[in-house]
Symmetry: C2
Subunit: 265 residues, 2 copies
DNA sequence: CCGAATTGTTCCATTATTTGGAACTTAATT
DNA sequence: AATTAAGTTCCAAATAATGGAACAATTCGG
């Protein structure tokens, strides 16, 4: 019943923790704070059980219960995430290269990594725009309709790729969104050959990007970097040209990782 | 021995969840990824137990295990936090007023809220730099040596304040940091009277701020906003002047909350 | 204003999960 | 090759989670 096609973990049951995480997912994915009864309907658990679970989550600061009995994501999550982000080695290594790429093109640059079926954006470098859409950082997006996502998929061995594609449920965000594993697979093969991927307004109308895959030697990270911008400014010709600097930046990041992380393995 | 005096939750036991959260805390607060044995020593649990707990956390994406057997915070935390942040009503209401204040003064403006003994920064508006998560957002800071923290404390009823102060352990970050509940309490009384607080280089040498308290009617939020900058630019005279605009901005935010959230209660 | 319905909370015997010691496997060290 | 340390698996005992039902509080309809 989850109307969400972007689960990071495919509902594996991890005992008590797994059940609690389902609740956290419900609340954090909701558009507004949920009442007890709303969660009751969504979670399909006995009232007593649910109540205790929610109480525990609130006590730990993972959820917050306001005066009107509505549950919202807890601020403790922010604290965890801030640390998780600040210390992420991959991101730290990539950052200067993202900046270079942003400066060279003037457009927005993203760094994302594949987790399950989703791309999680680790970083975003914008021009000087006053409007902050940096809420992108940390957000999970589908892998099948983003440049970074398709670049990441092109890194997977054939077998894993087939498995992953089999588990996808395609949401048609725009007229250009892939809606079947077949056409997607064909494009991914092409991407694997040429070494870069496009997003032709597949996730958001009017937004295009060119992306290149990035990975760590131990395959802990499989993701990519992208240059993103409005279609009126980024012609497909321009994106083709930019496939070169994106790939160069990707190479630099991977070289940085080899130096920083490589010797250990 | 956690060397960290800024716990958000005072180690209450929430059954299974509580134990797992202790582990998450350990890993996210560490300066570098931890090995199994490191965690074993820190957590003081039987090997078998710890191993299964870590496995569960990894399966849920809350931790990640790299090829060298080191545990790091998981990226799923980012996804949770991004949602938690993007939808936070308090922050959404405050944001335009933070911008106004930044524009009026040219200095950095913060929004923070009291959680337990810590201030969690919800937002930050800087001059020309695009805001990035690593700045401060999401980070927990002590309440006793930050402007926002002391402003928040001035909102507490006498009894709660005494309780909270009793539980504090003071870390002396600079020569000006409060190191006893007595002097802190005296200053908080003064702040409650005058309606604004200063940070006189108490958390970081060379950094000053002036802050005003902000709260919601149901006291779900007790926090504050501040103007922060280097001491050489922000004389105490200037900070005194700025106590007016900070308080005005705080009033606007609270008015915004009354309009937005008030009718419901 | 009252009774009915809905919503939220507590209780406790049953059930399922977690626990932790020990045995075992694998990797690192001498 | 032998020794130590690091990491993993197993299972009976201890502990925590479950869920039905009873209870309280709030909201709704007449």
């Amino acid at each position: 019943m989850s109307s969400n096609g972007e689960n990071i973990t495919p509902a594996r049951e991890t005992g008590t923790l797994g059940k609690l995480m389902v609740l956290l997912d419900l609340v954090t994915h909701a558009d507004a704070p949920l009442r007890f009864t709303d969660i009751l309907a969504l979670a399909g658990q006995p009232r007593g059980t649910l109540h205790r679970q929610l109480t525990h989550l609130v006590e730990e600061g993972l959820l917050e219960l306001d005066g009107d009995g509505r549950y919202a994501p807890g601020l403790r999550l922010l604290d965890f995430a801030a640390r998780s982000w600040a210390r992420n080695e991959f991101r730290l290594i990539a950052e200067p290269h993202l900046r270079d790429l942003q400066r060279a093109t003037g457009e927005t640059v993203h760094l994302g990594v594949l987790r399950g079926q989703s791309i999680i954006y680790l970083d975003k470098v914008e021009g000087r725009q006053p409007v902050r859409m940096y809420s992108q950082i940390g957000n999970a997006s589908p892998c099948y309709c983003t440049g970074v996502g398709k670049a990441a998929l092109s890194l997977l061995p054939a077998e894993s790729l087939v498995d992953l594609l089999a588990g996808l449920s395609f949401t048609s965000f725009t007229a250009s969104t892939h809606v079947s594993a077949e056409t997607l697979l064909a494009e991914i093969r092409e991407i694997a050959d040429q070494g870069y991927a496009f997003d032709r307004e597949e996730h958001e109308a009017g937004i295009r990007c060119v992306a290149a895959p990035v990975w760590s030697e131990d395959r802990t990270f499989m993701g990519g970097i992208s240059i993103t911008g409005p279609a009126y400014r980024l012609s497909m010709e321009l994106l083709h040209q930019w496939s070169v600097p994106v790939q160069l930046a990707a190479a630099s990041i991977m070289e940085g990782m080899r130096v920083r992380l490589g010797p250990r393995r």
